[in-house]
Symmetry: C2
Subunit: 418 residues, 2 copies
Amino acid sequence: MIKMKRSPLAPGHLPNVHPVDGVTLHAGYAAMKYPPGRDDVLLVLLEPQTQMAAVYTRSQTASPAIQWCRQAQSQTHGGARALVVMAGNSIAGTGSAGGDACRNLANAVAEKYGLQPEEIQISATGVIGEPFPRDKVMAILPCLGDQPVKWAKAAQAICTTDTFPKLASRCTQIDGVPVTLTGIAKGSGMIAPNMATMLCYLFTDACLNADLLQILLTRAMDKSFHCITVDGDTSTSDTVQVFATHRSNHASVSDADDPRLDDFRSALETICLDLAQQIVRDGEGASKFITIQVRGALNDRDAHGLAMAVANSPLVKTALAGEDANWGRVVMALGKTDFPVNPDRLCISFGDYPVCLNGVQAKAYDEALVATYLKGQEIVIKIDVGMGQVGMDKSGCAEVYTCDLTHGYIDINASYRS
Amino acid sequence: MIKMKRSPLAPGHLPNVHPVDGVTLHAGYAAMKYPPGRDDVLLVLLEPQTQMAAVYTRSQTASPAIQWCRQAQSQTHGGARALVVMAGNSIAGTGSAGGDACRNLANAVAEKYGLQPEEIQISATGVIGEPFPRDKVMAILPCLGDQPVKWAKAAQAICTTDTFPKLASRCTQIDGVPVTLTGIAKGSGMIAPNMATMLCYLFTDACLNADLLQILLTRAMDKSFHCITVDGDTSTSDTVQVFATHRSNHASVSDADDPRLDDFRSALETICLDLAQQIVRDGEGASKFITIQVRGALNDRDAHGLAMAVANSPLVKTALAGEDANWGRVVMALGKTDFPVNPDRLCISFGDYPVCLNGVQAKAYDEALVATYLKGQEIVIKIDVGMGQVGMDKSGCAEVYTCDLTHGYIDINASYRS
């Protein structure tokens, strides 16, 4: 296994994290894959009344853990009392044995804490297709829960190829009553690779039911986790869950568009975007954080598709790794989608430097200036695809985030399991 | 620019090439991009009566050269008398100046040889978005045509990042009369990158009209050029053209399904597959030639989509570069498509070694044996996605070709223009 250095794009320090009333964190080491010195199992206990919502991978070969979560959530109508997350083996590709293991784990936790098995959510990330070390996890489950851990340690326990733990936290309010929202995540691909499954768990003391949470989470996803990519591969375990412990005593709110939810909605979107961007900043081998802005598309959906085509292009990503102002590759990537673009009105800037104006090299193009800009760690590519009506500043627009494609990605992924 | 070594997957020697009656090849050096020592412009002269057919990139931002070819072909109803291919600048991303340049070039060739401009086909491959060096090409056009060159030199003149020239040739027959079929191609991505546009030109002395050629070419594409990928990026210049000089005196054939065309059809398919596979063998940075075979899909189209998802997955390709038997990534790649698979009946073999049986690690799995197999240069991944009816050997099936993703790809593409 490659020893990985902390990403150069990592935040300078851990954020200030606000604890969430009704949430207790425990961690332990089951030796699932990693050498001693780090935890690899996280157990989160949640107070009664906790409601949850979730978005999972669209993979057809999803892990049995995902199947367990979906089914359990449906049986409890969105109720949840505990979450187990394991790092090192995804349980995917283990067939019915994997499904049995999920049930065993849920039974064990349920028994210890006097809960129902379907109140236990189970997540796993790691290699696909290797036998799941159920007995190792079962052996340490009873030892968990003796002493709570802090958020940073919890965030570390769910990491795999991540080079830094990912946390975000906000104090907000609903109808004037303080509400806390804290999340942890791990990458380090998009909705991505094998051992780089994307997992994210958000916790709040807000008093919101499962259906309402689902609407809010789904909306927040569209501007965050659905706007990132590292390599375009889709994990069998991708999971974003939000748990609301109902410990805040704000007035009841039942409509997702209720203006009393404005602050909370905004905090949820901010925290999702923050964690999503942290995942990109820890993309395997990443040396640059790249924002792709598209406008002038027929609609937002088209703009998103075009932006993702650029963000996923290996040729765009290798050019940026090489700090090469090869904007022709952006043209190529836009052209390969089915979303309409007008090649004769296409404009592209790298940062504030125009490189392409109305489909040809900009007159103001200065390779030296652009080359200097590309040496930076934060790159913005601005694209107008020319389908907007004249005078309309932004018809269809979108913003997505990715990283460059470097030797580091090959190093990590060519020898991942060894 | 990176100095590239000949691909380890290159054929041991150039194939035996049969000249095609009615085709004359000329090459010259216009200093479009490359240092002296190699030609970068190819001129092919074609006898009267020559008919052509073509398949072009689906890119929305296609090169003006592609637009010129489409329009010219339409004006002549499939007639063509010359082909100009330039290596070093794709003319894409040059706006109306690029279109004007194509017209200038066609006019110059037409004038010299007493032809109509629309009888001249024009192709270009190279950087996108840099001003096209029209004057350099115009200056050498009159000097071309003095002395014909051989096929190998012609194939070399259209290369860019290619590490070997690509040729294939067959003697076949139509209705008992000998017919020759010879082609050249350049890669070295799929329907791919920037400077690695895929171009292929096939020449035959057969007496077939444009409409019939189009049907035969389109069919041959489905089992060859549409089944290869290097990195999933789509070039703005991809071109496959076939020219028939009508110099053979076989009887007239007008139906694509006429049994008298069986041998020719088969030779065309063989030559297309040969050249397509040569392109993959010269994929940027390739160290392994990988065949993905899918069966047990609902239909051939689904099988093709599933096979391409595996062939395009950066995680599968890096694992193979690392000779890592990480079959879980194949499961992941299959899962990310919308083409139905049955995870519980999924079977995967690397070569003849089963690794996954009915969705879980095969009992016969022997990591050491598989690891030894993966050290080879030719890897076959066999997948049954489990949607076929029991007892049906092959419902939907497909075979596609790709290469691994190595440090070489990053080296080449991170500094391509420099």
